[in-house]
């Protein structure tokens, strides 16, 4: 008999609400694995919490489903659990009702941060475009607006593909590219700040050599870009270097990011 802990059964509601953490959760799950009745109860409570979820439904952002479909294209599905399958994925297979859901919620997986970054980039790119649009609405036609249109065109291209990369000196980049439009949109988060005598410069690198693809503006709220680069050729790589302010016609320092496009 444990006297310090609450009676496990009384934690069923908190568990169903994901309101248990750490040892509270582990303790309850141990109990659950041995308690068929609790498992049935949790299943019923989850039906109730699903109604709470349904009641909170709000219009999802446009593109959410499209991005999930695109991501699914590149994501292998889990095989079904069979009687012979060791319960590795579902450590708590004993959980009636819980088992399915538990199995589907493993801990961190390596692809998650990349996917999350891609979604974040898409969201931030959209925000940046909204900013450009708002800006140009007030200032009539201008370079900004044209740039905004070009960026929007890449994002909306039917073959738009998102890639992410880590920058060796710090930060992460997200790229949306369209081979049809021969263009890409570059954004980055958390780039290391540079001295005023330096700048980040993008390169399109192909068999014909390295072409400057634009210099990055200074960060705003930790975000850099979006920057559009055109003239993309099949088989190109995108590179990033630190150059003297004003940029260089050819890279003069080591690549801090190289990404096959």
């Amino acid at each position: 008999m444990r006297t310090r802990q609450p009676e496990p059964h009384t934690l069923a509601g908190a568990y169903a609400l994901d309101a248990l953490t750490g040892t509270d959760r582990a303790h309850f799950e141990q109990h659950l694995a041995r308690c068929e009745q609790c498992s049935r109860e949790i299943s019923g409570l989850w039906e109730a919490t699903a109604r709470l979820a349904a009641a909170a439904a709000i219009e999802p952002p446009p593109g959410l489903t499209a991005r999930a479909l695109a991501a699914a294209e590149q994501t292998r599905q889990l095989s079904p659990l069979t009687r012979q399958t060791p319960a590795r994925h579902a450590a708590m297979t004993g959980l009636a009702g819980a088992a399915g859901a538990r199995a589907a919620v493993p801990l961190r997986r390596p692809w998650m941060p990349r996917l999350a970054l891609a979604a974040a980039a898409a969201c931030l790119v959209a925000a940046a475009i909204a900013g450009v649009a708002a800006h140009t609405a007030a200032h009539q036609l201008g370079e900004q607006q044209l740039r905004g249109h070009a960026i929007a065109a890449v994002l909306a291209a039917p073959d738009a593909t998102m890639l992410t990369a880590r920058i060796t000196t710090g930060g992460t980049a997200a790229i949306v590219m369209s081979h049809r439009d021969r263009s890409l949109v570059f954004t980055a988060a958390g780039l290391r700040p540079l001295r005023s005598s330096q700048c980040y410069e993008l390169w399109l690198m192909g068999p014909a050599g390295d072409k400057p693809a634009g210099m990055l503006p200074g960060p705003r709220h930790g975000m850099t870009g979006p920057v559009i680069a055109s003239g993309l050729q099949p088989g190109d790589h995108l590179g990033l270097t630190i150059e003297p302010a004003g940029g260089s016609p050819h890279p003069t320092s080591a690549m801090i990011m190289v990404l096959a496009l």
């Binding site: 989850w46 699903a50 979820a53 009641a55 709000i58 999930a68 991501a71 579902a90 009702g97």
Partner: protein, 199 residues
């Protein structure tokens, strides 16, 4: 039944004939076999409740979008693990969604600052309801939440819509944590019975 604009009301109306929930379970079976059209249909069913729930917990729109996308992809990935004998498809999806949302919030929670800052009932049901699309589920849930005691209702909604742990809820409400855990269970049981959830 691939399209039907019923995604804002995943449970459909009472006596609406074929239950959309059964559809969703069948669709998940097709998703498990790699059917992309079925996955798209599933997304149409679940995107609104998934995004609404994630948003209520995570708050930040960009982060909510990220988490919601992770949830949809997880549904694709893990569809073969859904077992209709053990609960409804929507419950399975929403457990994934809510867990991911609270995981996101808790991984970013560096200190107790958040619990104190949010001591207001910023996440109380009314606020969620305000943003929620008008739908049948909303009406029923509102009515049933109204049948709970105040403490039960606050405990349940702070945990679910606010993503707080039961110990945090206890701190917010100035009540013993044992009391909160009991009220959460009693409240959910009452909610379940009021909603006529089939098990």
């Amino acid at each position: 039944m691939r399209t039907g604009g019923s995604h804002l009301s995943p449970y459909g109306g009472a006596g609406a004939g074929e239950a959309p929930g059964a559809d969703l379970a069948a669709l998940l079976g097709e998703v498990a076999r790699g059917d992309r059209d079925a996955f798209e249909a599933v997304c149409h069913h679940i995107a609104a409740p998934v995004f609404g729930t994630v948003r209520s917990v995570v708050r930040d729109r960009c982060q909510s979008e990220e988490v919601a996308q992770e949830v949809l992809l997880e549904v694709w990935r893990a569809a073969s693990r859904f077992d209709a004998d053990r609960g409804s498809a929507m419950a399975w999806v929403m457990v994934i969604a809510h867990r991911r949302a609270v995981d996101r919030v808790r991984s970013e929670q560096k200190s107790a600052a958040r619990e104190l800052r949010a001591a207001s009932h910023a996440v109380a049901y009314d606020e969620v309801a305000e943003k929620a699309e008008a739908n049948l589920d909303h009406e029923r849930v509102r009515r049933c939440l109204g049948s709970l005691t105040e403490l039960q209702r606050e405990a349940v909604t702070l945990a679910y819509y606010g993503g707080y742990t039961y110990r945090q809820v206890a701190a917010l409400l100035g009540v013993a944590s044992g009391t909160v855990s009991t009220r959460m269970r009693d409240g959910l049981i009452r909610l379940r019975d009021c909603l006529g959830v089939k098990r």
